[in-house]
């Protein structure tokens, strides 16, 4: 067990080391997310609609789009220099490889989201502190589901020539439950409703997380097989 954890942390550490060196992924994701928000501000007339209803949608679209960029990039790097080959030659369990990649993707996305939230607060004049604990929890469980399925599919799409296009095409229809649930929950939380009012959504999102981590554990051997 201890060894397994060491393997997982080694992969996470590797991803952070690469990122600290290249500084490619994170800046791209963040700037892209800001641009997505900006485009929404231009296309949706915010003087007519209620920000508490539209804001969470815009926020999550920014999270999911820039998250997709992150997923694509993270496996591209593995492929480019034959890093994935090297990882697969090491005597570690494939699931450790999955959890390492999944957790590093999750960490990048969460840091990006943490930086984006203050901007969101400023741009849309939303009070995030009223229900901060619930808000962070909602964002966490939504992002875990996205990364759980996203890492599996990006490790699969990473082998294709058309990986940049195929990842979103495979991923977006499947994350509909997360997209709807996370936006609903965020919107309710921002309007001051307690988490106990939305157990159905919390349960649904948590089941999504568990189901796709489970599916990934069962199938990752077949995806990373060469």
């Amino acid at each position: 067990m201890r060894q397994y954890l060491n393997q997982v942390t080694a992969i996470i550490w590797k991803d952070f080391a690469v990122e600290l060196k290249t500084r490619e992924l994170f800046s791209t994701m963040f700037v892209f997310a800001v641009l997505v928000i900006l485009i929404f501000v231009f296309t949706v007339d915010l003087s007519i609609v209620n920000v508490n209803e539209v804001g969470p949608g815009i926020l999550w679209v920014a999270f999911l789009f820039s998250g997709t960029i992150g997923l694509n990039r993270s496996f591209m790097l593995e492929k480019e220099n034959g890093c994935l080959q090297g990882l697969m030659l090491t005597p570690i369990d494939r699931t450790a490889l999955y959890f390492g990649k999944m957790l590093s993707n999750l960490a990048f996305l969460l840091i990006m989201e943490a930086l984006l939230l203050p901007l969101f607060m400023v741009f849309f004049n939303v009070d995030l502190f009223r229900n901060l604990g619930s808000l962070l929890l909602v964002i966490l469980i939504g992002t875990v589901g996205f990364c759980a399925l996203g890492t599996l599919l990006s490790s699969l799409a990473g082998h294709l020539k058309t990986r940049d296009i195929m990842l979103p095409i495979l991923l977006y229809p499947l994350i509909v439950p997360i997209a709807i649930g996370a936006v609903r929950m965020t919107s309710k939380v921002l309007m001051g409703e307690p988490l106990s009012e939305m157990w159905n959504w919390v349960g649904l999102t948590l089941s999504f997380d568990i189901i796709y981590i489970g599916v990934s554990i069962m199938t990752i051997d077949h995806v990373l097989e060469e």
Partner: protein, 236 residues
């Protein structure tokens, strides 16, 4: 022709004629036997195509799911062929659901499309399996294609209940299920309508198996041709 090949051919013929008879009976029932619905009029008859197509699409995707699991377990090309063939048929019938729905909805609801729970779920389902088929198109044939497709086939089907509930809590206007309702089996519907619907369901199910058999046959022939080509190539 030897014994082994003539036996499935024989059963194929039986299935073919059974399907023809079933579809003919269903068509007769839909257009001549069943009375026109009082409030909705003639357009209501599209239901007898709409519901069986939806059932078939769902059943086909279930077969994709089962075949995908069996493929990853047994690593037998046979199951990969089943999954692919069933996915193709499922997408065709799912498209039919998405086409027949708006034709009915325009005169009844006054709009081609509303973002109702079931319409939305069906559209997402269609997108998932179109993506599945695209993925198959983007990988060269072989073990990798079958493995990736199987993973998506499993992930896609497990998402259906989650999509169902998320979209249901999001919104719903679709007519409530009429056959299996809370009041008991078939109480929401006139007997002649129920019989017609069941006939149509039966005929469509037969059609599914007929198409599946044909599609599997084509895929196997393709495999055989590839095999022969390679054999020829290396024998010179």
């Amino acid at each position: 022709m030897n014994e082994e090949t003539s036996a499935p051919e024989e059963s194929g013929h039986v299935l073919f004629w059974l399907t023809c008879a079933g579809l003919a009976t269903a068509l007769w029932a839909i257009f001549l036997f069943v009375p026109t619905e009082k409030t909705e009029g003639a357009v209501q008859r599209i239901m007898y195509f709409h519901i069986p197509s939806a059932w078939l699409a769902f059943f086909a995707f279930f077969i994709v799911f089962v075949s995908s699991i069996l493929f990853l377990w047994k690593k037998d090309r046979e199951w990969d062929i089943y999954a692919q063939s069933s996915a193709e048929i499922g997408v065709v019938f799912c498209s039919l659901v998405l086409i027949t729905g708006p034709i009915w909805a325009k005169p009844i609801w006054g709009a081609w499309w509303v973002w109702d729970a079931r319409l939305t779920s069906t559209l997402i389902l269609w997108l998932i399996y179109v993506a599945y088929l695209m993925l198959r198109g983007h990988v060269e044939s072989g073990s990798a294609r079958a493995r990736y497709a199987a993973v998506v086939g499993i992930a896609g089907f497990l998402d259906i209940p989650l999509i169902h509930f998320s979209v249901l809590w999001w919104r719903t206007f679709h007519p409530k299920p009429k056959i299996i309702s809370a009041e008991g089996l078939g109480t929401g519907m006139d007997t002649t309508m129920l019989v017609t619907l069941l006939l149509s369901l039966g005929a469509f199910t037969l059609l599914y198996f007929l198409l599946l058999g044909q599609r599997i046959e084509i895929e196997k022939t393709k495999d055989e041709i590839d095999h022969l080509k390679k054999e020829r190539l290396y024998s010179h």
